[in-house]
C-alpha cells in the first residue's frame, strides 16, 4: 500500500518541497533535517494504516498536534521520519452529561474544549498557558498549567483514550469507570510519554460542574522568600486556591512595558496572584479573610481585585512570554521542586545570574513548585550565549536534582532536556523506562531519540 492510497487527498499528504520548515523545528530546536512525508490524518483508520506502512517501509513516526511544544519532542532528528499530523482530527464528539465525560479527537485545541464545556455549565480544569495547543499534545506531555494546585494536571482528567500502538493495533486504555483495580495502569503509562509508546487518536475527558463564583487576590511581598513562605501558609490552612501564581517584579515589568498596563499593586519584589473558586460567594469571602490574616506578617499588601483589576492582573501574567519576545531571545525552563524548596531554587537562579553573566528572571506556579526560569540572551553574541547558557543549565539542573526536583513539570523532556533527565534520575529508574519502551516498541519506531 502506498502513502497515496492511505491518504487519498493530495492536500493532506505533503511530500518533498511541500513540507514546510514548520514541521522541522520548534521554538528552541532549529537543526532542520528532512522528513519522508507529512500526513494530515482525519481518522484512526488512517493512523493505523500509516503505522503499518511505516512498519513495512521501516520508517520512524512522529505524531504531532499544533506544534506548540518547546522541548523538541515533535522535531525530526533522523531524516527518515513520517510525521502524522493530527491537527485535522478536531471533532468534539460528545459531551455525556450522565458520566460527565467529553469525548474529543486529539487535534481539538485546549481553548475550544474550554469554551465548549463552559458554555454548557461544565469545567475542564487543566489550564496550560498555551491555549492553542491540542489536547493530544496536552495528554502526551501531561500538561499542567495554572490550576494544578487545586485540580491537578491533564493526567487527572483523562478517563480513557484510544491509542494506535507501534504494532498497528488499536486499543482503548482506561475506561469510564471511576475506580479500577483490574490490571496494570497502562493509561497513565501512556500519558506523558511524548509520543514514544503510542499515537493517541481519541480521548475521553472528565469534566466537572463549572464553579459559580471566582475571586482573585493580589499579594505583594518584599522578597520571593516571603512570598513562598506565604504560599506554604495558604496551602497548609485548607484555603484550596485554584491558582497561586508567583512572579518577580522584574518579570512582570516586561508585561507592564508591553501591555502598557500596571499591576494593581506596585510595591515589593515578588507577587502572588491567587484565585479562589466556589459554588458560593460566602465561602470565597471567608477564605479571602483567612488569607489576609494568614499573610498579615508576611505580605506588604493584599488586594482583593475587582473584575477590572482581575482582568488586568491576569492579562499581565498571561503576557509575560509574549512581552519577553519583544525584548530579547530567551530560553524558558519548566523545572519543578517540592513546594518547600521553591524559594531556595529561585534564589539559586539569582546566584547563577551573577556567576554566569546571563540575566535570569522567574515566574511560576508557586502552589505546585513549578518554576519557569527564563534565561535571557539580550546583547550576548550567539556563541557566548550558547556557551554561557549550557554552563548555567548544568549548574541549575544539578541544584534541581539536589532539591529533589525534576527537569520538566509540564513541557516534557523531548530532546532538549534528555541529557539532564539522564543525569538527574536514578539509573535503575531510567533502565526501567527503557525496558518498558523496548517491550512496547521494540523497533524504536515511535518518536525515536526522544525522552529516553
Amino acid at each position: 500500500m502506498s502513502l497515496q492510497t492511505i491518504i487519498n487527498d493530495s492536500e493532506r499528504l505533503l511530500l518533498g518541497e511541500q513540507i514546510s520548515d514548520v514541521y522541522k523545528k520548534d521554538a528552541y530546536v532549529t537543526d532542520v533535517v528532512d522528513v519522508q512525508a507529512v500526513a494530515l490524518v482525519k481518522t484512526t483508520d488512517e493512523v493505523r494504516k500509516l503505522v503499518n506502512y511505516a512498519i513495512e517501509q521501516d520508517l520512524k513516526i512522529i505524531a504531532r498536534g499544533a506544534g506548540t511544544g518547546v522541548a523538541g519532542a515533535q522535531v525530526p532528528i533522523h531524516g527518515n521520519e513520517l510525521i502524522i499530523d493530527v491537527s485535522q482530527m478536531k471533532q468534539i464528539i460528545e459531551l455525556d452529561e450522565a458520566t460527565m465525560t467529553l469525548t474529543v479527537e486529539p487535534g481539538v485545541l485546549l481553548s475550544e474544549i474550554q469554551e465548549y464545556v463552559e458554555s454548557r455549565g461544565y469545567f475542564y480544569p487543566p489550564d496550560p498557558g498555551s491555549k492553542h495547543s491540542t489536547i493530544g499534545g496536552n495528554v502526551a506531555t501531561n500538561a499542567g498549567g495554572m490550576r494544578a494546585v487545586k485540580y491537578g494536571t491533564t493526567r487527572d482528567y483523562v478517563r480513557a483514550m484510544e491509542v494506535v500502538m507501534p504494532t498497528g493495533e488499536t486499543v482503548e486504555l482506561g475506561s469510564l469507570n471511576i475506580k479500577s483495580s483490574s490490571g496494570y495502569d497502562l493509561k497513565n503509562l501512556l500519558i506523558g510519554s511524548e509520543g514514544t509508546l503510542g499515537i493517541i487518536t481519541q480521548i475521553k475527558l472528565k469534566v466537572l460542574p463549572l464553579p459559580k463564583y471566582k475571586q482573585s487576590v493580589l499579594l505583594a511581598f518584599d522578597s520571593v522568600t516571603s512570598a513562598t513562605d506565604g504560599v506554604l501558609t495558604i496551602l497548609s490552612n485548607g484555603i484550596e486556591p485554584t491558582a497561586l501564581e508567583l512572579f518577580e517584579r522584574g518579570t512582570i515589568a516586561y508585561s507592564e512595558k508591553f501591555t502598557k498596563e500596571l499591576l494593581p499593586l506596585q510595591l515589593g519584589d515578588a507577587y502572588v496572584l491567587m484565585t479562589l473558586d466556589d459554588n458560593e460567594m460566602q465561602s470565597i469571602t471567608r477564605r479571602v479573610k483567612v488569607v489576609e490574616q494568614l499573610v498579615q506578617n508576611k505580605a506588604i499588601a493584599a488586594l482583593t481585585l475587582n473584575k477590572e483589576q482581575e482582568k488586568s492582573a491576569w492579562k499581565l501574567r498571561d503576557y509575560i512570554l509574549v512581552a519577553l519576545m519583544e525584548f530579547t531571545e530567551f530560553e524558558m525552563l519548566d523545572e519543578v521542586v517540592p513546594i518547600n524548596r521553591f524559594a531556595e531554587m529561585i534564589s539559586y537562579t539569582k546566584e547563577l545570574q551573577r556567576k554566569h553573566g546571563i540575566r535570569v528572571i522567574n515566574f511560576g506556579h508557586a502552589g505546585d513548585g513549578n518554576i519557569h526560569t527564563v534565561l535571557m540572551k539580550e546583547d550576548l553574541e550567539q556563541e557566548i550565549w550558547t556557551a554561557k547558557r549550557e554552563a548555567l543549565l548544568a549548574d541549575l539542573y544539578e541544584k534541581v536534582a539536589n532539591l529533589g526536583g525534576l527537569p520538566s513539570a509540564e513541557h516534557g523532556i523531548g530532546i532538549i532536556k534528555k541529557s539532564y533527565l539522564e543525569k538527574m534520575i536514578n539509573p535503575v529508574e531510567l533502565n526501567l523506562m527503557r525496558k518498558v519502551k523496548n517491550a512496547i516498541d521494540p523497533d524504536d519506531r515511535l518518536n525515536p531519540g526522544k525522552l529516553i
Copy 2:
C-alpha cells in the same frame, strides 16, 4: 547466603511446620499448598537480600501485608514461594508539614495512618472498609473505599514509593514534586500491580488539611433505580459529596438484625447515605438544602442526621459484612460500571438471583459506580453452591463487560477474578500488560500466576 543469615532472628523466619495456614489462604481461596519459608522482614535491606536469595535459589516471591486481601493475590499456588511478610515494617517515619507528606513503612495499618494524621489536623482521604489492612496492600490493590467519589483512590495519594524490583535493585518511583512531565509514569504502573512488578518498602503519602465540619444525610427511595437517579442528579449539580453509599433494604436488614439498631428511616427499598464535608458549616447547610430540592421528586424522604443518628447509620453500613457472616457463607464481589449504569447492573443481579436460585444482595459506592454484589450460600449444598455460583458469575461478568465495566474496583484481580479479566478486557491490552510484566520481571518471580 542462607535465609538464616539474612533474617538473623528465628522468630522472624518461619519454616516447615512453623508456617501457619494463615499464610496459605484467604477469605475465599483455601486450596492450601506449602510455601518454602515466611520471612517477617524489618528493613528494605532484608527485602533486597531475600530477592537476591530467591534469584539464586530460583524461588518465587509473594509480598504480603495484613492478609486481608479477598482475591487470592497473597495465596501461594506453586509450592516454591517465599513469602515476604512486611507487617513488621510498621514505622510511621515522618509527617512533613511543609510538603504535607506522610512517610510510612508498608506494614502500617490504614487505621493507624488515619488516627495519626487526624490527631495532628490532617486527613488521609482513602477509606477502604478494612481499616486493619496495611498501606502496602492498599497501594498494591489501589484500594478505594467510601470517599473515592470526592477524593479519589489510594493512587491519588501516593507521592512516591521505594520499591525493590525483581532484579534486587531498589528504586524510588515518584517524588515530592506535584507536577511531572519527566519520563514514564512508573509509579502509577506499580500501584495496583498486586505485587507482580515490585515489592513496596516505603511509601510517601499526600495528606490534606482535615476538613472542619461534616454532615450526613440519609435519603430513602422506593427503588434502586430512583436512588441512582438521585445520585446522578446530586453529582451533576456540584454538590461534591464525600461519600454516597447505596444499599438495599434487604442488605441493611442484616446489619439491623445483627446490631439490633434501626436505620433512622424505615421506608422504601433503597437508601443513599451521603456525607458532606467542608471547612465551613454554612456551605454544608446550603448544599444539604440543594440536595433536598434536587431529590424532591425522586426520594421518599430525606433526613439530615444528628450526631447520634449519623453514628448509627454509618455503623449499620460498616457492619453489613460482619452481620452477613453471622447468617451465611457468601462471596462478595467488587465490580464497577460507569455511574449511569449502576441501576441497570443492580437490577440485572436480581434477574440472576431468579435465574440461578442464589440469593443476591447489593450495596456499594454509588458515587463511583462500584457495586458490592453479595452471593449468599444460605442452605445450598457445597457442590450446588459452587456450580450455581460459577454459572451466575459468568453471566454477571458478561453483563459488567457489556456495560463498559471492570471486574474489580478496589479488591484486585488476584487469582479469583483472573479468568474473568482475561475475557473482559481487549486482548491487545492484556498482551500489553504481559509485555510490561515480562520486561520488568522476565523470570516471573514476583507473585507468579496472579493478575495476568
